[in-house]
């Protein structure tokens, strides 16, 4: 998902707005449309950009509502959603692992919202899923804005995986990043960042 680098320097000096995460409801569709129909946000997504309100409703009914962990990112104390963050558990036996993804409406880029949302989501799932040891994410190698979000949220670069996913009809090289649970209860030890 894309987060812009525009106004990045100014954003560092602005304070990050207070964000809350909450489940989506179908009545969020108008706000959802703001980013789901925007190529600038959706161009890095596996999902095609929606073009109509009906497509957005279908997307919400089929993917958002039944999702294991998907949250609307709201700013300004219970305000309207400006984006989404979701965590998908790994398939099969790998219950210790999950992947995070996010998207923010273009007009709200550059304020640290995605970073705050990713940090909050990561904290939440590590607490809600005690068996979760590893959270990872992938971003296209040229999607430096999303990589910055993940880096600021505490994720570490792991590997560049070549020709890893087909997005918009072409195979893309993807950077994989990861964040481990800070408290490894099995070993009773703390994982030290920067190892």
């Amino acid at each position: 998902m894309g987060v812009g680098a525009k106004e990045e320097d100014r954003a560092e000096k602005k304070s990050v707005p207070e964000i809350t995460l909450r489940p989506f409801t179908l009545s969020d569709v108008d706000d959802f449309m703001t980013w789901a129909t925007d190529d600038r946000v959706m161009r890095f997504s596996r999902r095609p950009t929606c073009t109509t309100k009906d497509e957005c409703l279908t997307h919400m009914k089929d993917l958002i509502m039944p999702h294991p962990w998907c949250r609307a990112i709201c700013i300004d104390d219970g305000g309207r959603p400006v984006g989404s963050v979701s965590v998908m558990p790994a398939p099969g036996a790998d219950v210790h692992r999950a992947s995070i993804g996010f998207g923010i409406a273009y007009d709200y880029w550059g304020h640290g919202i995605a970073t705050a949302a990713v940090k909050k989501a990561a904290s939440a799932v590590f607490e809600e899923w005690p068996f979760l040891e590893r959270l990872d994410a992938i971003a296209e190698v040229n999607n430096t804005a999303s990589q910055r979000v993940l880096e600021k949220a505490g994720f570490q670069r792991e590997a560049v995986l070549k020709s890893y996913l087909v997005l918009r009809g072409e195979s893309k090289d993807m950077l994989k990043v990861e964040e481990m649970n800070l408290l490894d209860s099995e070993n009773n030890s703390r994982w030290m960042p920067g190892k």
Partner: protein
């Protein structure tokens, strides 16, 4: 390479059950695999019937026409259709002779020819499985990094080395 002339790949048949049992029942072989050692031939027969035979890409590694191991590529769909994951096993009696490397090279060559849109064959290997890492390096795979705690193997989370072979890369001779 000499080993490639000795090794052939072909589809499995249920009549290969006894040969398959040789490595499927061996703890040394299953140690780094997600499956547990087989003790009952009927369980293995069921696995062959339900998983091996209908699999989109699963081959017997044969020496003199008889299976001494298996190699498979799990193919992706949708956004994952450009990649496949390689897996292989070899009976312990045939380790150390270059047969794994030969089979991996042949499998990669075949699967890129046979599967439309495939650009990447990847393999995940336990960080402690040095033998398998050497097989992949000799077969021309590139080591991309280590994915920490990425796989559960025999009840423990393991660090896995990720290797890839991109169709555009030249085959190592």
């Amino acid at each position: 390479m000499a080993e490639e002339r000795e090794i052939t790949l072909r589809r499995f048949d249920l009549s290969d059950l006894d040969d398959y049992m040789v490595w499927a029942s061996d703890h040394r072989v299953s140690a780094f695999c997600r499956w547990d050692t087989y003790t009952d031939k009927e369980d293995l027969r069921r696995y062959m019937r339900e998983t091996v035979l209908p699999h989109p890409w699963f081959r017997a590694i044969c020496l003199g026409g008889r299976p001494i191991g298996a190699v498979s590529v799990n193919l992706g769909a949708g956004c994952d259709r450009c990649k496949g994951e390689l897996g292989y096993v070899l009976a312990a009696a045939h380790w150390g002779r270059g047969y794994g490397t030969a089979a991996a090279k042949m499998a990669v060559r075949s699967v890129f020819q046979e599967v439309e849109g495939l650009e990447r064959v990847e393999a995940l290997v336990d960080v402690d499985n040095k033998g398998s890492q050497r097989v992949l390096e000799k077969a021309g795979f590139v080591r991309e990094g280590v994915l920490r705690k990425s796989m559960v193997l025999k009840g423990r989370t393991r660090d896995m080395v990720v290797f890839s072979f991109i169709s555009a890369d030249a085959l190592v001779d």
